[in-house]
Symmetry: C3
Subunit: 161 residues, 3 copies
């Protein structure tokens, strides 16, 4: 048994832990915003992280928290909503990572639920202070326009936008 083999194993284990930490963050986003947990949702982002979603650009944690606390978002979850994100594909390179997933926004109506949006989500992350943080998330509707498709293709390839 050589140290080389153990170092190799350490690297593999660390990669899995990194990818899983990011998968967990992305899986937490929907439950957090649907619960109205503005501070915890904002903490997924870096202090100066960006969230750009269909013409609403947030530039830091406070902006993300303000979005969750906004009348628009509170009205949505007050009637009932699921920000339903699918399994993420995560690519880690050192202290940087890219992830991608699709999402559905399902909203409650008098007679049931309806799908308001299907979206493409591209995430850029960095390990900052020993914790993965979102530095940029861009979300665009899957409505036939090119940008959503470009986000998906770049995300699976592990490329920044």
């Amino acid at each position: 048994m050589t140290d080389d083999r153990l170092t190799e194993r350490e690297r593999r284990l660390q990669t899995i832990e990194d990818e899983r930490a990011i998968e967990r963050m992305i899986a937490s986003y929907g439950p957090l915003v649907d619960a109205g947990q503005s501070a915890a949702a904002a903490r997924l982002w870096a202090a100066d992280g960006v969230y750009d979603v269909e013409g609403w650009v947030m530039n830091n944690r406070d902006d993300v928290a303000a979005m969750v606390a906004s009348d628009a978002h509170q009205g949505l979850i007050g009637r009932g909503a699921a920000h339903f994100l699918g399994p993420a594909v995560v690519s880690v390179a050192g202290d940087k990572a890219v992830a991608v997933c699709e999402s559905l926004l399902v909203v409650h109506r008098d007679d049931g639920y309806t799908v308001w949006r299907a979206g493409a989500n591209h995430f850029e992350l960095r390990r900052i202070d020993h914790r993965w943080q979102i530095t940029a998330r861009v979300t665009r509707p899957l409505d036939g326009r090119a940008q959503a498709r470009e986000l998906l293709a770049a995300g699976v390839a592990g490329s920044p936008r």
Copy 2:
């Protein structure tokens, strides 16, 4: 190379295996109940595990199996249904765990499919006889009421209800 480093690695590997075992159970639930596999679905629960879903409280494996075999459930899957659970966020502490995910119940209709429910799912699990088992699952619709939001917040925080 010290035993300490190897023990640390063993702990990390075990944590990943535990979380993955629970993720797999939760990912299996939809396919099992949509296939009508009542015994296999019930085996995800502990012998005296609880499943509390919108006013239907099951108190053990037999109750869960009976739900899957019920006319209500069989009618649903006889017409076509997907109990679609999203990626789970799992928190393990020793032989106990908490998990959370959102879910959609999509049902087949003459002219396509419709979303009947969007739900919040909070799971408590224990390692019993070397196998993770659900001791309590509570599911509530995301219809604006507080309980679903409380389940989501507790679940992401890794807290029991």
Copy 3:
């Protein structure tokens, strides 16, 4: 510290990596086909891999690429569509594997989005040239007929069809 313990750890780590590689492939499928990435989507399959979806049988990578490039598929993503696959349950045995998940096909309409299909997806995979590749995928709608339910039951059990 004996080599035996390290070999056991190597086996456990390898199992996690194998399962995760397959989970990643399945999580990539939707983003790739919704982005119109025909070559990358086809590369998920083995050279002679099969994709059998509701009466459309593809028998190799070229067939899969042709499906993504087809007028039918391009029309779908040109209007906006999400091939939304849920978390997969993966069972690996040496160089073979079986996986299963449910899926939603969500399409864009003038007034929002609608769920066109809910499906059962059964995958058989092989490790070929050190890379997991799909040798057969069968997708059937969850519309009450038996075949979708059989695919789900076999998939969770880790059995080929």
